[in-house]
Symmetry: C2
Subunit: 328 residues, 2 copies
């Protein structure tokens, strides 16, 4: 691993973000990454965070058109309420704050406590829970479905609504619509190694894969002998469509877990498009890359979001963050 010590991994990364991104305000001690122009008067602020190890999620999504701030926890461990309260105070421009919370027990409890504390401080808070992973209900760390790739869609699309001065209830409603319209399914081809453990956190032989993996190496639906990209797309997209059944065009995220080459991800993207075409699902936009990762895990996930014209317009709206950036 390219680290100094397991204990300093998160702080070291935040120092690196500070050096590479002068357009962001990085508080290494409190583990916050904040838009430098925050608070923006009159605009709703999106705040997210979670365990580290999923980069660029969330700090890489801080900037105009997406998150106002991100709180970084230890690797695969929720940040604490104090970080969230501090961040909420830093970004509230008077229009309130939307917490974007991935559905893991620690995150849910800590964001809930932070919402209560922030409201006591006079900050209006709404929360949206992201729970898009169709692979399993209830898992290590989770009651209900896990939150994975849809987090990117929620943060981008609701962030665009906030940038357009939509009020808090509207931004929260958009975020909930995006989550309700999104489903994901992930596959691991090799296990993840955390800095603290220093060896793979689960055992996955090179000639097997795990279907329905979580982003912390949580178990999925089943082990199988290695499959082709084509076969994996059939299973992953099939699992998503069994649950989503879109009646309009979808946004597609073809996401790498961290160690799978972009060459392979694009090839997998072609197979995802093939399955969607065979199933009569129209594709509006496709994003291919490592966005919601699990350190050095090899594998991929597919997230689909059924997007009406308004969600698509908000998806296309300008965004300026380290990891997602475009204008129109």
């Amino acid at each position: 691993m390219l680290i100094n010590t397991p204990e300093t991994v998160v702080a070291d990364a935040l120092r690196g973000m500070a050096g590479a991104h002068p357009e962001l305000a990085v508080d290494v001690e409190n583990r916050l990454v904040v838009r430098r122009d925050a608070p923006v008067a009159g605009k709703v602020a999106l705040l997210s965070g979670g365990g580290s190890g999923h980069e660029p999620l969330h700090a890489g999504f801080v900037g105009p058109g997406m998150l106002a701030a991100a709180c970084a926890g230890e690797v695969f461990t929720s940040p604490v309420p104090d970080q969230m309260v501090r961040a909420a105070a830093a970004v509230d421009g008077g229009a309130g704050v939307l917490f974007v919370v991935k559905n893991y027990t620690g995150d849910v409890l800590n964001f809930e406590m932070a919402a209560e504390l922030a409201e006591e401080d006079g900050v209006r808070v709404e929360q949206v829970l992201v729970n898009d992973d169709v692979a399993v209900t209830d898992s290590l760390f989770t009651a209900g479905r896990r939150g994975t790739g849809a987090t990117l869609f929620v943060e981008k699309i609701a962030g665009a609504a906030a940038e357009e001065d939509a009020p808090l209830d509207r931004v929260a409603a958009v975020a909930r619509q995006v989550n309700a319209s999104s489903r994901s399914f992930g596959v691991a081809l090799a296990a993840v190694t955390t800095p603290a453990k220093g060896s793979p956190t689960f055992d996955l032989p090179p000639d097997e894969l795990e279907l329905g993996i979580g982003i912390h190496g949580e178990p999925g639906r089943e082990r199988r002998p290695m499959m082709t990209s084509r076969e994996i797309a059939d299973v992953a997209v099939g699992a998503v469509l069994d649950d989503l059944r879109p009646d309009g065009p979808v946004l597609v995220l073809v996401n790498g877990m961290g160690a799978t080459p972009l060459l392979e991800l694009y090839g997998f993207g072609a197979e995802v498009h093939r399955v969607l075409s065979e199933r009569g699902v129209a594709v509006a936009r496709t994003l291919v890359g490592n966005y919601v990762t699990s350190l050095d895990m090899a594998g991929c996930s597919v997230t689909l979001c059924q997007a009406d014209e308004e969600l698509l317009r908000l998806w296309d709206a300008p965004v300026e963050t380290p990891a997602l950036r475009w204008g129109r």
Copy 2:
């Protein structure tokens, strides 16, 4: 590996690029990725290419402000002259074409032959050779220094000059200045596995690293027991500064080889900045991410480019490609 067959990896990836990037024209049969608005009348066109397996380099850098076209070879194998001649004809808007060639024997020979053929067809061609890797002179596949991370700087900065309607000799001069002002050094923490071989192409135990690695797993300077991020930055930046000796601010690329988590790359970036500060070198801009990769190899490289005001202005100019994208 997330593939169908080793034989179809490159074609599958190009089909995926076609699906994800309707703003690009992808010719899967001839393995070309071209700006959809090519040829652009009166503008010099940058053309590059090389073996696949280094994504997003080069196809991910095709678009306004950077490359006009990229030719994809088999994994770690040069594209053929016919591809380059075809691409040159597709992108020449009458102002000529600049070939950006990484210094590997096969690439150099094939681009040289393509330049002669294209010129016979009436296309004016200039070439720039990228040879920034200070680790070794002469290596597997190379006479002289290898071309690595500086390719990104050359393509971005010369691409901006071309976008501003600079003539061919000026665009070529800018490209050569960028290469002459850039140096790189890379480190492998785990070996690369190619689809054709299906197992690691060299043997690197988990408790060792290879200093001065190439982007095809070519041998570097030496094996050492595993080092910390801090120690690796001392060696890598030290090796670059032994050769470059900048007397002004530098652009910094902290590049991942493919399988190293972004969390770790940012931490390494902090150590790179520390060494530069200790050595009195000012940092103008920093880019952190997986840009010039080696499939699933774990590790990183550092590239520095001494940038005068004009190069910095061109670096900051708008660019709109799959992998690098910003406006001003």
